[in-house]
Amino acid sequence: MEAATIRRSGAGLPAVGLLMRRALYEVVRVPGAAIPGALAPTLFLLGLTATFGNLTKLPGFTTDDFMSFIVPVGILQGATFSGAATGVNLARDIEQGWFDRLLAAPVPRGALLAGIVFSASLRSLLPISMLLIVAFSLGVDFPGIDGLLVALVLALAFSAATACYSTTLALRFKTQAAAPLMQAGAFMAVLFTTSYAPLELLTGLLHDIATVNPVTQIVDAARQGFVGDVTWTDTWPGIVAVLGIGAVFALLALRGLRRMGR
């Protein structure tokens, strides 16, 4: 009864802040664990540009600079790696029993989820910043304040959505062995879109998947400033898609949290 009163009395917000701070400490204290995830999107950006850079010669390609075209994909990859890492860390906390102690604390479950999820958004700023520094120094044009803002807001929201997805899996499987499922699922969700080329130039299974994959809307919305002008018509589908994906996985994660310890 007392715990329930405390849970309703506003203990949530400080808990969210503390969990976010703990996630940041992890980055500082164990940089070796964070570096591969932070570097990977930049390495993929360089690798994909090196290999497929000449795809821009195809008639109908929307830009003549492949790196500019693919930067938003790298930004969203950075977001997904951070989101997936959050789930892996949660699975570790569950394995080690630390999460049980957190569940026993007088903190609303929603606040626990918010702390975990927002920490993913915060952590994603590291790979995204690294990627943007490299991209701009290699000649990618500045997308304008509006273009950058749209890309960043969508990336942070997508990181939170991915964190909800990986949290759902962590709560379901309760083991770090589920890590490949978290990482590969999120990673492929971004790549099976218009990541390599505009939809009209995609072929085969990739074209079919990209057409129905809601993440395509997010990639296209985040890409606007890098390949042209930002318009509301191209922005709102991305916002709807990220909110929709986030809402579905947030509900699943909350359900998983409520079932924990019962």
Binding site: F44, G53, F192, L202, G204, L205, A210
Partner: protein
């Protein structure tokens, strides 16, 4: 003669153990099949119109061009998996027990590499069947298939030797796992997925010196045309370079581990 028979028996036993280990733990097998399959769909779909680019070689379909890259990718991941499995052996103390047993030290590494070759071959067969079902044509006919069956297991051995060296040196599975993104970049800096003449700089220059380019091109030659001697010899030379490098690194890492006790 008895010595050789004993040696081969140890290699066989350790190889069988490694294969069983891979089939019992899906986390070792899944990346070898799953990631290259997904990238095959991505690359053929994403670069599906690339045949229209001037300078792109004449092929029956983009799948024919991309399949050799996928085969190299799967052997590369088989090498990483072999490294992770070997590092786990170090972590749990299995390697220490093997070292104290009356067996030649090289058999420990060779056993693991034989298993990697078998896994590479199985994965190669899986991808070839997948490709043929999806409409791939092997223009080189029987010789083309033989080149694949020759190059793929040996590529797995080559990359497995690098993975094993890393495992022996670090003794940590997380370190070997950490090279995963780097592995992809090294592959992208080759002609595995796109023709060398259409890569952008500096990747085009790096690809000229990357043995993976020649390994992929040797396989590709037999898939998109009749088998020719020059690409095959260059592919074998690429294999020899990586195997020699991996062998030297393995020997050095094992020696330093044993010296450190």
């Amino acid at each position: 003669m008895t010595g050789l028979r004993d040696y081969l028996r140890v290699v066989g036993a350790l190889g069988r153990r490694s294969i069983k280990q891979s089939f019992r733990r899906p986390q070792f097998l899944a990346p070898i099949l799953l990631f290259p399959t997904l990238f095959l769909i991505l690359n053929t779909g994403g670069a599906g119109s690339a045949e229209e680019i001037p300078g792109f070689p004449e092929v029956n379909g983009i799948l024919d061009f991309e399949m050799p890259g996928t085969l190299i990718q799967c052997t590369l991941l088989a090498g990483v998996s072999a490294g992770i499995a070997m590092a786990l052996d170090v972590e749990v103390g299995f390697l220490d027990r093997l070292v104290t047993a009356p067996v030649r030290r090289s058999a420990i590494v060779i056993g693991r590499l034989v298993a990697t070759a078998v896994l590479g071959l199985l994965a190669g067969v899986y991808f070839m069947v997948l490709g043929l079902l999806a409409g791939m044509q092997v223009e080189g006919g029987l010789l083309g298939y033989l080149v694949v069956l020759f190059m793929v297991p040996l590529s797995a051995v080559a990359f497995g030797s690098i993975g094993a060296a890393l495992a022996l040196k670090s003794g940590k599975a997380s370190v070997v796992q950490g090279i995963f993104p780097i592995v992809f970049v090294i592959l992208f800096l080759s002609s595995a997925f796109f023709p060398r003449n259409l890569l952008t700089e500096p990747a085009a220059t790096i690809a000229d010196y990357n043995p993976m380019s020649y390994m992929a091109e040797a396989i590709r030659d037999g898939v998109i045309s009749d088998v020719s001697v020059e690409p095959l010899l260059k592919g074998v030379a690429g294999l020899a370079v990586v195997i020699a490098l991996g062998g030297l690194l393995c020997a050095a890492a094992l020696r330093s581990r044993l010296r450190a006790g």
